[in-house]
Symmetry: C2
Subunit: 331 residues, 2 copies
């Protein structure tokens, strides 16, 4: 992002809405072509995720929730890697300079940047004839060599997950209408599900705890089943998951109980932005207590086992449940 | 980017085409949610630029040139900041997994990444119903505090520019047909202009020299006139530019001489990806010699002057030329 004397549309919009967010000295007030990240001996963890209108958010999602989602899906990645946020750059592809959209977008982005101590460092604003796109590259810091990888899960460890699973997928189903919308008659519960879809809750507060305790970790963005399969694949292990142990919100539990959705749809769904990690058996208790002190519930959902088979999901009767659609893929 | 066992379309495509590019250990073979940049005491310079089909490149531009342009526009920013490339992350928004497009795209990206020692560290592949978009965030290293800013130009210094100006704008005009296409009858010259539009030549070899000599620097991406205005604005100075000193290729000079295009169209055009910088008078000679040793010609095109007026552009007869369209703005 850059600005100079010619008060062209792009420059003046950037100045008005985004410069107030560029609070870090390394952002140079967005007056330059680049930002500088000062070294402090940490490794810089880099992650990038884009969200596209009609794919990752809905065309009528409010601009403030679009801003929060764009940043938070990246903060979620950083947290799962054990990294403390350091800043982000933003690429915004817009059909035009719609101030009624940009103003609440920038305001919410600024609030989240402040809340999560992750300042805007720079960016690029481009016009597109197509759907809105918000691409964020976020930076975090970890002590040298301490980034928590996907690989590293070992047989005998516990599979743990934060928060609850499946709410965002249900929120999207509510927004799309259909049977979930019809069945979710409780307005507060419905709003909570939609909120989970539109505004993820990245587990930033857990970053250092994940770093201290987890052998392997990733955030759950493409569905618990598929993401666990990825973590196991990279770690060279398998897992046995106890389906009834998967944490559900009361709204989700109610919909499953009433037969509106199957549990497998929730664990194949996406957009959870919870942390999935592998913890040595003798450290599970300390991990849970540390997480609880940050206000985040963690659940043990199964065991890492040796082998290269796909993870198994076992129901309350001890039967293995076949998961036909293991992961959401964009293609 | 991430890959695991489920051979979904996205994962297998990433594995096949992009993993061979992830040569840096920090990329973790694209098997993780994030990459790690190890500290070496340098400041990390971060820049991000996206290119969109129909806006920054043409729908029938070959995939290999799209890949090179996406990376090179960012390498150009790094060079202008005095930063040596360290790596990049890529966000690719595609309408589908078209292997006939992806294969040459990835191959060319890999060649450029190797040529400019800027390895792929990670990324995100998303589907879009809209135009293709390639967003790159690139990282470079400079000694602490040594990033060259846009601000810093001082009255009395010389305004210098690398290479030649206006060729890319002419190349775009050739591709769009019309009078420039009709007038550019020399096939080799025409191809050279189109090449400048499609595949910028980032001045990576000049990064350390810019760092050693320039008081202020930026790359010329939105047109020389507008970008100079920005550099002057941020530096709190003005400039007087000698139009006949602006370096033109023989193809561009020929088109200006024949009256096909005006010089002002060339300096208002975009996509030059040359370096514009301010050099103290007594260091101009040494700067020019150092640049020449890397094979890059540099030209002195004017003088930085005190004041806050827009830069003046003076023709061969000493008349000031009014520039109605100082800069390309995306809105």
């Amino acid at each position: 992002m850059a600005s100079g004397k010619p008060a062209s549309g792009e420059d003046s919009l950037i100045a008005r809405y985004f410069r107030p967010l560029a609070t870090d000295p390394g952002a140079l007030g967005l007056d330059d072509d680049a930002a500088a990240l000062q070294p402090d001996g940490s490794d810089i963890v880099v992650t990038t995720d884009a969200i596209i209108e009609g794919v990752h958010f809905l065309p009528d999602d409010p601009p403030d929730t679009v801003a929060r989602k764009a940043l938070r899906v990246n903060l979620s990645d950083l947290a799962a890697k054990g990294a403390v946020p350091a800043g982000f750059v933003l690429t915004l592809a817009l059909r035009g300079a719609d101030e009624a959209w940009l103003k609440p977008f920038a305001a919410a982005l600024g609030e989240d940047a402040a809340q999560f101590a992750c300042p805007l460092l720079g960016g690029d604003t481009v016009s597109t004839p197509g759907p809105l796109m918000v691409s964020v590259t976020a930076f975090g810091r970890v002590p040298p060599g301490k980034m928590v990888h996907r690989s590293g899960a070992k047989a005998g460890e516990r599979v743990m997950v934060t928060g609850t699973i499946g709410d965002a997928a249900l929120g999207l189903a509510v927004l799309k209408g259909g049977k979930v919308h019809a069945a979710a008659t409780d307005v507060a519960a419905r709003d909570a599900l939609v909120g989970r879809y539109r505004v993820p809750q990245p587990r930033v507060a857990l970053a250092e705890i994940v770093r201290d305790f987890a052998s392997a970790s990733m955030d759950v963005s493409d569905g618990l089943a598929g993401d666990l399969t990825k973590l196991c694949g990279v770690s060279g292990v398998s897992a046995v998951i106890d389906l009834p142990s998967i944490p559900l919100s009361s709204a989700a539990r109610d919909l499953v109980f009433r037969g509106v959705v199957g549990l497998e749809a929730l664990i194949a769904g996406g957009d959870d932005y919870e942390i999935l990690c592998s913890i040595a058996e003798d450290r599970v208790e300390a991990f849970s207590q540390a997480a609880e002190r940050t206000g985040v519930a963690v659940s043990s959902i199964g065991t890492v086992v040796a082998g290269s088979a796909f993870p198994k999901f076992i129901d309350a009767e001890g039967r293995e449940i076949a998961l036909e659609r293991l992961s959401y893929s964009h293609f």
